[in-house]
């Protein structure tokens, strides 16, 4: 990829990152009203807690200073502290491994199953295989994650008793059902997107030309069709991975996994504002960097992107 593009793209991270942090920070501290009350969910707080909070977030100073101090803290890995004085970063460190394992599990399913489905249904288009994949994936997309989670829990956990339905005590087995819950839906959408993408590319003139040169079919599909189809697929995969890193909120709730997502919901339910803000901030930052990686990957795959 051209150096110009690389540098431009890397430089872009700075304003976007700052903007994102500002957006999230602004939602809490810039909006009219008392930020502390908002964070506390209008629950009463003791004066000493309020004092600690005010000091920590520099609420007695102009917004610019508040933001600046927040940035400084962030760069040291300080994501704020809850009302009880606990560091959010500590909570993050504690819960991240669970979310990470779930993310890997779900992503693995999405990647392998999704790509397989899209290639098979594209290559076998108009056959019964293609039709069944289309119907199957449609099901998986439309059924909301919550429902899938419950159904899997019920069938495999309770009725059949094969897999655990909650918690992480059973080692890797605990992650099977949750990974499937999210992974199947994601695989389904990759399957459909990939299929239409591949089909579009299969009718391209350069594919016809490749066939006209007598290249083996496997090569034409595996090399030419595939690489041309990758950009949108990689984009979606990347975004999904970022989303997964943020903790699949619903799934972690259903299966009672002590990850970041569950932490977020608990924070919401207990009006633990600082925790919620800290976590959302983390996810947004992860997102910015994931988008960067995705963009760079796509530029590597399709030279037209970077050479403009």
């Amino acid at each position: 990829m051209s150096r110009r593009y690389l540098i431009r793209r890397l430089l872009l991270v700075v304003p976007v990152l700052l903007g994102t942090i500002l957006l999230v920070f602004g939602m809490v501290f810039l909006a009219p009203g008392d930020p502390i009350a908002r964070l506390a969910g209008n629950k009463p707080l003791s004066p000493s807690t309020i004092a600690v909070m005010t000091q920590r977030y520099h609420l007695d100073q102009p917004f610019v200073i508040q933001f600046w101090e927040y940035l400084k803290a962030l760069s040291h890995g300080d994501f704020g502290a809850t009302f009880t004085g606990r560091d959010v970063s500590e909570i993050i460190k504690e819960r991240f491994p669970v979310t990470l394992k779930l993310a890997i599990g779900a992503f693995g399913i999405e990647l392998v199953l999704g790509l397989a489905l899209s290639i098979v249904s594209a290559v076998k288009r108009r056959t019964w295989i293609d039709s069944s994949i289309l119907v199957g994936t449609l099901f998986m997309i439309t059924i909301p994650t919550l429902v899938v989670g419950f159904v899997l829990q019920y069938v495999f956990g309770i009725k059949l008793g094969w897999l655990p339905v909650a918690g992480v005590q059973a080692g890797w087995q605990s992650y099977v059902l949750p990974s499937l819950t999210i992974g199947l839906g994601l695989a389904a959408s990759i399957g459909r997107l990939g299929r239409s993408d591949i089909l579009d590319n299969m009718t391209g003139e350069h594919i016809r030309a490749a066939n006209a040169r007598g290249l083996p079919r496997r090569r034409v599909i595996g090399h030419h069709v595939l690489k041309n189809s990758l950009v949108p697929i990689v984009t979606i995969l990347g975004l999904d991975l970022a989303y997964l890193m943020g903790g699949a909120v619903i799934t972690e709730t259903i299966f009672n996994l002590p990850g970041l997502g569950q932490s977020l919901i608990v924070g919401v339910r207990t009006s633990n504002g600082p925790l919620v803000v800290g976590l959302v901030m983390l996810f947004a930052i992860i997102f910015v960097f994931t988008t960067l990686i995705v963009d760079l990957l796509c530029a590597r795959i399709d030279p037209r992107i970077s050479y403009e």
Binding site: E205, H206, R213, L215, N228, D302, R304
Partner: protein, 326 residues
């Protein structure tokens, strides 16, 4: 008498669409010998591109279906070959050159990668050998600094250079027949001449036979030995290039010739062929050209004129062939 190098006989291709059946190619026949250039001249929709793709069997089926006729290389029938065997034929015996190099080349691989891929897959050479051959090929088609060009991506190349790359790929396996589908239509006029010259020299050098598909009469006359004029899926006139140019024997050909503006004559309006190309879903009865033809009579409306040898080596599908003037 030995079989001609390349024979197309009564080729029939139809497109089955939701709105009906279109006979895109309706009985096309011609033969080709070594070193011969046959120009297939026609408007869009005349079937010229479809017939070539049918010969190479790279049509999208559905909606296209080859419903009749024969395409032979020597005495080998191509239309009934196994797909595996046909793949062997493609590129190494019969090759195709496409119109727009920027859509016909894969945009995500370098030019070198695509050339080398072809050589390695079809000629079983090592990467290093393939690179040498590829460099030589690019040089042969007139691309300066070929070794550096191998690393370029298609969109980085100008139209002329990119088309030369396509020519290189088409002749890389030394095919006996080249089907060139409007190879210069997407190029600037000055570059067109260069590419045509290149094709001409390749034909002379390798004794390759070439079918030059074009809508541009000047291109046809410049390079071809013979011209086949196509209209609505059929060949309406076939003969030596010079003769067709000076003495057409079909009203359509004559109208085409008349529509070329003459720089020396001052005109108020550009002469065009009146009417519009036929709707192939509901083609006219009888001769497809009759609605636009000044010589048309009732017989033309009722009967389809057969191809008749009106002079030795001159074929015309018109009841009034002898009345045609330039």
């Amino acid at each position: 008498m030995p079989e001609p190098l390349f024979t197309v006989e009564n080729l029939q291709v139809e497109f089955r669409t939701d709105d009906g059946v279109v006979h895109a190619v309706d009985g096309v026949s011609y033969t080709l010998e070594k070193s011969e250039v046959l120009a297939v001249l026609g408007e869009s929709g005349s079937g010229k591109t479809v017939h070539a793709r049918a010969a190479m069997r790279i049509l999208d089926t559905p909606p296209a279906f080859i419903t009749g006729g024969s395409v032979r290389l020597g005495d080998m029938e191509l239309l009934t070959l196994d797909e595996e065997d046909m793949r062997e034929v493609r590129g190494s015996q019969v090759a195709m050159l496409f119109q727009d190099p920027h859509t016909a080349l894969d945009p995500v691989y370098t030019v070198g990668e695509q050339l080398i891929e072809l050589l390695k897959a079809r000629r079983r050479v090592s990467k290093r050998e393939a690179t040498e051959v590829a460099t030589a090929l690019l040089g042969r088609v007139g691309i300066p600094t070929p070794r550096e060009r191998l690393k370029a991506y298609p969109h980085q190349l100008s139209g002329g250079i990119a088309q030369r790359v396509m020519v290189a790929m088409a002749v890389a396996l030394e095919p006996a027949v080249l089907l060139a589908d409007e190879p210069t239509s997407s190029l600037d006029v000055t570059v067109q001449a260069q590419v045509l010259e290149l094709l001409g020299s390749l034909v002379a050098e390798t004794q390759m036979a070439m079918v030059l598909i074009t809508h541009n009469l000047a291109v046809a006359v410049g390079l071809a030995d013979r011209i086949a004029v196509m209209y609505a899926g059929r060949i309406v006139e076939l003969g030596p290039a010079r003769e067709i140019y000076s003495d057409p024997k079909h009203p359509y050909t004559a109208a085409l010739l008349r529509s070329i503006p003459d720089i020396q004559i001052r005109e108020e309006r550009l002469p065009a062929i009146k009417g519009a190309p036929p709707n192939l879903l509901r083609p006219p009865t009888g001769c497809a050209f009759h609605p636009r033809c000044p010589l048309a009579d009732d017989r033309c409306k009722a009967e389809v004129p057969p191809e008749v040898e009106v002079r030795p080596g001159r074929w015309s599908a018109c009841f009034h062939a002898d009345e045609v003037t330039r």
